[in-house]
Symmetry: C3
Subunit: 169 residues, 3 copies
């Protein structure tokens, strides 16, 4: 398993790689498609859901994300945990992360919840860490119809509302 860091410079590199991952996920859930493109090398590859959604090149990856997650009805929360990042050279690294994700799509009236483990490859280009490969394998995923749930109500939306709750305190 990935050895822990043993120097200041290791810690700094690892923190920079974490920031890359956090930026990627923030851009994903905030639909910042131009900014998310900065996270990848141009020849990056992705293999989401054990390769069910596989893409070659940053352009193809971002086009997929934009198409799959761009709609205002699509509300997502992708959260990663437990970074085990291994520096494999001065400019390469690997990372394992635990993912927890929720999608609420009001157009299709579905909720999807899942858990997975990411396995990433990073490369440092011109002083910036980038994703060269990203992908995950599901521990589980479930889908639920929202219209079959009595007393379920979306009470805030960052897309069709102002990110403000409609609930009374």
């Amino acid at each position: 398993m990935s050895p822990a860091p043993s120097s200041v410079s290791d810690l700094i590199e690892i923190e920079q790689i974490k920031r890359l991952k956090y930026k990627y996920l923030r851009c994903l859930d905030q639909k910042l498609w131009d900014e998310i493109a900065e996270c990848f090398t141009s020849d990056a590859t992705a293999a989401y859901s054990s390769g069910k959604y596989a893409f070659d090149g940053a352009e193809a990856i971002v086009a997929f994300l934009r198409q799959a997650m761009g709609a205002d009805s699509f509300h997502s929360s992708h959260r990663v945990h437990h970074p085990e990042i291994e520096l494999t050279s001065a400019t390469t690294a690997t990372g394992v992360w635990a993912l927890e994700d929720v999608v609420i799509d009001t157009r299709f009236e579905i909720t999807i919840r899942g858990a997975a483990f990411y396995e990433d490859e990073y490369v440092k280009v011109d002083g910036q860490w980038k994703l060269r490969h990203t992908g995950y394998r599901r521990t589980y995923e479930e889908m639920q119809s929202r219209k079959d749930v009595p007393g379920l109500k979306l009470t805030a939306s960052g897309w069709t509302g102002g990110g403000r709750s409609e609930l009374e305190a």
Copy 2:
């Protein structure tokens, strides 16, 4: 976007700011209202839920939290992820965090689940980092009636039980 840290002292400051946030959230979910007050400057401001719940001064913030979340029927889990902390001077910093929260209120028989992004401002006073401003904007929030869910049962409570599961293994 927030630049990553580039020195040991940056790393230490950032770790101290994270601890402040973790303490704040632990106190929130454990109803430690006196201890949570230590997390804020006296002139701190809060703008929860895109400003729907806005407060001026630590006293007003803590009074709100205590009133809104103090009841034994109120079970909450506020978890933050993906810290992008930027040190803006020796004694000031900003932070973006991804929030995932769950509230189960057995009195009103509701569950609330949500996701948001926090934007915080921190200030170092007498060697201690404090929250000068905190607030978040929802990506989504949903409420569900618990009494309409067949086969749903609270099996442990830290407030009305001893934090011990009633489930049989």
Copy 3:
């Protein structure tokens, strides 16, 4: 509460302790029972769910985990947050973590969701941090029958499938 780190060596020790916890949790959700045993001292103790599930010795702990979580029908996601790790000597430390966990058991057709706070004790043996004690207290836990939920479907499994979603994009 736990003082924040104040030196490089503190930061490195804390990162190593975090890695231990991440390995423990990855092994838990990936059913890596031999590898998880490496996380404990041989005389480790555990007190899960406020001591409802209490064990003495690594062997007893791992035997419990394997028995409780080993089935292919058991899908789990244990995610920890907010590490407040205190180094109490060169070879001992304590840690508080916020836990969020989900279990989907397709055999019993149940979902269990919960939140808790872990309190751990760590010890460094031959240069490796190990768990000497682990345990948590629930903020809440709930169980739901899956067969009573119309329109709920498991769409990926890392155990009975290949960790690949069956959903159409």
